[in-house]
């Protein structure tokens, strides 16, 4: 039943800095995200969207309140649990963060190899398939330096999705993408939600995505001020 709500945030407060410089970034945030849904976070700059995303994505330690991710409490979670949970997530960052020494295919393979040893042939096949879905079938052996910004971002998307994650966290993933490939990515996420029950939490200002969202959560000054299903 916990799996029906893969992300369950309650009473979450978060601060940055110490002493005089200590500043609260999130105030009593409560949010239940349904499995298979596409939830979009919006809000002005500095409203705490990224902070919430990194906390829910197990990349930052919870200070006060509770986050249950895939049924596991993140507050006080040991690094082993964090590692295990992170393997079930897919991250799409604003910056592509590809490894410059690895080809597109190798970068995507990194998303599979985290799960341990497996048949390299099968892994390569899966990676190639994902890249092809994202329109990069003819670029699989390119190094990131030889790819355009949008192509790099699509490789990063392939890396996040190739391992069939349970939850995808994305922070402005379409900022670097042109209209068409941005739509491809969001449609892919949407379809994964319907077919595989993949849950997506995404920060974006892209109006075309807002139309596809199951739910739009608006943050302002660290508080949820609006929560609608369009």
């Amino acid at each position: 039943m916990a799996e029906d709500i893969p992300v369950d945030v309650s009473g979450l407060n978060h601060w940055f800095g110490r002493g005089e410089a200590r500043k609260q970034a999130l105030f009593n945030v409560n949010l239940k995200v349904a499995q298979g849904s596409l939830t979009v976070l919006v809000g002005p700059s500095g409203s705490g969207k990224t902070t919430l995303l990194t906390l829910a994505g197990c990349l930052r330690d919870v200070q006060e309140g509770s986050i249950r991710l895939l049924g596991q409490e993140l507050k006080g979670a040991q690094s082993d649990l964090q590692k295990t949970l992170r393997r079930r997530l897919g991250f799409i960052f604003q910056a592509h963060n590809l490894h410059g020494s690895l080809t597109a295919l190798q970068n995507v393979l990194m998303g599979l190899q985290v799960h341990g040893r497996a048949d390299p042939e099968l892994q390569a096949k899966a990676a190639r398939h994902t890249l092809t879905l994202l329109g990069l079938g003819d670029r699989i052996h390119y190094l990131p330096d030889n790819l355009s910004g949008g192509q790099k971002q699509r490789v990063a998307v392939a890396r996040a999705l190739v391992g069939n994650p349970d939850v995808v966290f994305a922070d402005e993933p379409t900022a670097a993408l042109d209209r068409e490939s941005g739509a491809t990515v969001v449609q892919m996420l949407k379809r994964l939600g319907q077919v595989r029950g993949t849950t997506t939490v995404m920060v974006t200002h892209d109006n075309r995505i807002l139309e596809l969202a199951d739910r739009i959560v608006t943050l302002e000054d660290g508080r949820i001020v609006n929560d609608t299903a369009p």
């Binding site: 079930r88 991250f91 963060n97 020494s101 690895l102 190899q113």
Partner: protein, 390 residues
């Protein structure tokens, strides 16, 4: 290489790909490791040759126990030993024979230069104290003022030494007396002199009138078959009146001599230091390369952390890099060191050579040192925080 590492680590050879991505840095790193290897090889080669040279004269003789003066740290150093202690020792039931060994340097003034010959005076009537290879040429030593010469003496043309035979001897003057060389033996240049010469004790005393037959430099003893030299030596230390004497088995005497050369003599210490410095240079270079590499890839590593990769994964990348640097740096280092040792050996006639033992030791040492630097370099990984990525 890429495939080999992939099989070895069971994942993409990220370390290899990372290292080879920046060719210039990779080449510089390999050159650094190779340089450190050459440094260590040359120092080890010299140390080895010092050991060979130090132990060489011990191979000329056969004995079970050696008695030397307290200040005689090596074959050629220190005061004399009174022959009376030999007779005292020979009263022991296990001591079957004893002889005095004289040693001094004889200078052979040649047209172009003077050769220093480390010269041993032995009793030619007791060939049992000579090694089998030495016993045959030494049979000529009973002739007055005769000698046999190290055919590998530095500074002597090989054809000249090869011509020395009983039927075609070679004479030269030393200390105002004509010495005649009737035969040769295989010695080999050391650090103490240009070569060796063997004469009878009588000839030796004629060369050095100040020395007395009653006080040789060392006393050699042979024991009854089956007697333990260490046990008998301990017994003799009780029996012989002069408690300051060094009475120890012949093998132990050689060991002590070697340890003295390597740890007490400035040359030995310097070469020992050379090895340490070579190792340190290697560690610093590899550390520098690996820690820069880690620092350059912090955001990539943070991404991998966010994807669920653990500390072990990052350690294995750095270890992979260390292994690559160690193995690929060793090969050119080994090749260059071989050439260098050959060149040095032919220039000095010192027994400088690459040995399998050296190669294995340095190879293992290189990989260990590289891994060590790699392990230190991973401390920088802590800075890779996945929360900073968004």
């Amino acid at each position: 290489m890429s495939q080999l590492l992939q099989a070895l680590f069971g994942r993409l050879p990220i370390g290899w790909l990372q290292l080879t991505h920046n060719r210039t840095r990779f080449a510089a790193a390999l050159a650094g490791v190779a340089f450190a290897n050459v440094l260590v090889f040359v120092q080890l080669g010299i140390m080895n040759s010092m050991a060979t040279a130090t132990l060489k004269p011990y191979s000329f003789f056969q004995a079970d126990i050696m008695i030397s003066a307290p200040d005689a740290n090596s074959m050629t150093e220190g005061s004399n030993v009174a022959r009376q202690w030999m007779y005292q020792a020979m009263a022991d039931r296990d001591v079957v024979a004893g002889t005095g060994l004289f040693v001094a340097s004889v200078s052979w003034q040649r047209a172009d230069k003077a050769l220093g010959l480390t010269t041993y005076g032995v009793d030619p009537t007791q060939p049992v104290f000579l090694s089998p290879e030495m016993a045959k040429p030494a049979s000529t030593l009973q002739l007055p003022n005769s000698g046999i010469l190290d055919r590998f003496t530095r500074g002597l043309p090989r054809d000249e030494t090869a011509a020395i035979r009983p039927q075609s001897p070679l004479s030269f003057e030393a200390n105002g007396i004509t010495l005649t060389l009737y035969d040769t033996f295989a010695g080999g240049g050391g650090f103490g002199g240009d070569g060796f010469m063997m004469v009878s004790d009588q000839t030796f005393l004629l060369q050095f009138p100040a020395r007395s037959s009653g006080a040789p430099d060392h006393i050699l003893l042979q024991l009854a078959p089956g007697a333990d030299p260490d046990v008998v030596a301990a017994r003799l230390r009780d029996v012989v009146s002069d408690k300051s004497l060094r009475i120890r088995s012949y093998a132990k005497a050689a060991d002590e001599d070697l340890r003295y050369q390597q740890t007490k003599r400035p040359t030995g210490i310097i070469f020992g230091f050379g090895v340490i410095i070579g190792v340190l240079v290697g560690i610093v270079i590899v550390y520098q390369v690996l820690s820069t590499d880690v620092a350059d890839h912090l955001s990539e590593y943070a991404t991998f952390k966010a994807m669920g990769y653990g500390q072990g994964f990052f350690l294995s990348i750095v270890f992979e890099e260390a292994l690559v640097l160690g193995v690929l740096g060793f090969l050119p280092g080994f090749a260059v060191a071989n050439l260098l040792l050959l060149a040095m050996a032919s220039a000095t006639t010192l027994p400088l050579a690459m040995t399998a033992g050296m190669a294995v030791t340095v190879f293992i040492g290189t990989v260990v040192a590289c891994s060590l630097s790699g392990a230190i370099a991973t401390r920088r990984l802590v800075a890779a925080d996945p929360a900073d990525l968004f």
